[in-house]
């Protein structure tokens, strides 16, 4: 080994020692939580919770997504700009979906072409 010891010599070089390896216990813990939440999601599907059904399911999915994003995707330790970019994507998705959904509510109820004129569907 040279006299430049790998482990300590990097510190004085700015821009060279930037690796931030995630500790294995953290990875495993997050994985366990994700699996647990998946089980919860599947389990709650067998209960009929009425109209908040989809809200709960989406809520759990969002918690999982946040865990994956913050830890597996490293956003918690990253430069905040990356987080800002990622969140902005969802801002635009929100705009897109909200406008489109509210518009389609106001147009005709069902724009699916009912081409199965034979028997099956009830008349529109």
């Amino acid at each position: 080994m040279s006299d430049h010891d790998h482990s300590s010599a990097d510190d004085h070089r700015e821009g060279y020692d930037f690796a931030h390896p995630m500790p294995v216990p953290m990875l495993l813990t997050i994985f366990a939580i994700l699996v647990f939440l998946t089980i919860v999601t599947v389990a709650q599907a067998s209960f009929d919770l009425g109209s908040i059904d989809i809200a709960i399911v989406m809520g759990i999915a969002t918690v999982k997504a946040i865990l994956v994003a913050l830890f597996f995707m490293h956003l918690l330790y990253d430069k905040p700009f990356n987080l800002a970019i990622f969140l902005s994507a969802f801002v635009f998705v929100g705009l897109f979906v909200i406008f489109t959904l509210s518009d389609s509510r106001l147009t005709s109820k069902d724009f699916i072409p009912v081409d199965d004129s034979v028997i099956t569907s009830p008349a529109e």
Binding site: S2, D17, I85, D110, V118, T120
Partner: protein, 396 residues
Amino acid sequence: MSTIEAKPAGNDPESAHHQSDAHGDHDHDHPSFLAHHFDTPEQQYDSGKLGIWIFLVTEVLFFSGMFCAYAIFRMLRPEVFEGCSQFLNTKLGAINTGVLLFSSLTMAWAVRCSQTEEYKKLTGMLAATLSCAMIFLGVKAIEYSHKFHMGLMPAGFFSYDPAHPHIEGGPNYLMWLCLPFALFLIGIVVWLAVAFFQGDKFKIAVLKPLTVVALCFFVGVGLGTVLESGSDEGHAGVHDEDGVGEHSDDLASASYLPDEATAGRTEFGVIERLAGDATNSGLKGELDALAAQSEIASGTAVLNDDADVDSTIHAAPRDFLTPSRAGVFFSIYYCMTGVHAIHILAGIGVLIWLLVRSVRNEFNRQYFGPVDYVGLYWHLVDLIWIYLFPLLYLIR
């Protein structure tokens, strides 16, 4: 352009490979992994990170189009979703979710290994991620082939018949889906054998994990087969209230009568039988009207249930299993899961590239960007599945 001094190998004896980090007083050196237009490896890494995050934004928006289509159709026709969701095997979907979550774990671990320079582990982790991806695709192949056999196709091709759920004689879809992966496996094995006889250590080191990866597709197929036969998923929920002609392909639903409406409203169910014939369209309308009346009379229906502006009284639960409506559901299903599967395939390709590079020990604590970026892409693919799974598979 800075002068690139040929780095004497003696200065960095610990680097067996030539992309050593510029230790000590070699400021103007640039390691081979550092591109010219960057000052430091960190700057290079940050730039790449920004680039991949912007790419992920485009991916999110890409999928949001399909999620929007899902939202619109589900908002307009929730009963179609509830009904058709029964055709989706929740167990297989949950297995796939677990497999992808595990692949996310191994991918994040691989990123860690590239940063801590644990080379063999890095290759192992990448191979594990690849194997999980293949298992996912194997389970998907089972799901798809099963649906094809039942005629649950996108709109325009939808031909499910509850009376005869499994279409006799049709191509063996599973075989055709497995064919490319089987060819891949055979190719890898043959190549490995050739490399073995040539004594090419590098190729052997790459192809051995790839063999495992290729085999895992069939592990997935096996897993899917075992689980699929264990549970019967497609056939509940569509009750044959028969009185209806059965043979024609066009008849995609046997229960055009609402469940609550009792048959035998007319004597011997004659009108129901006659209404089954396409030409007696007026009778069908009459039956619908009677059904709607009884619905309202019995109080099981809520008028003006929808918040739609032009809502009319449609108290009778709608028939969801029509070629157009169920067809649209399956169009959305195949589009979303299919495009997701294409992303998995692309991820597999990139991961194989990473695997080859990792065997060459190209990554170190100052150059792990590619592993990190592919990791981000892979986590996004997992994220999308995290949302897809409950939305498609877990509707009630």
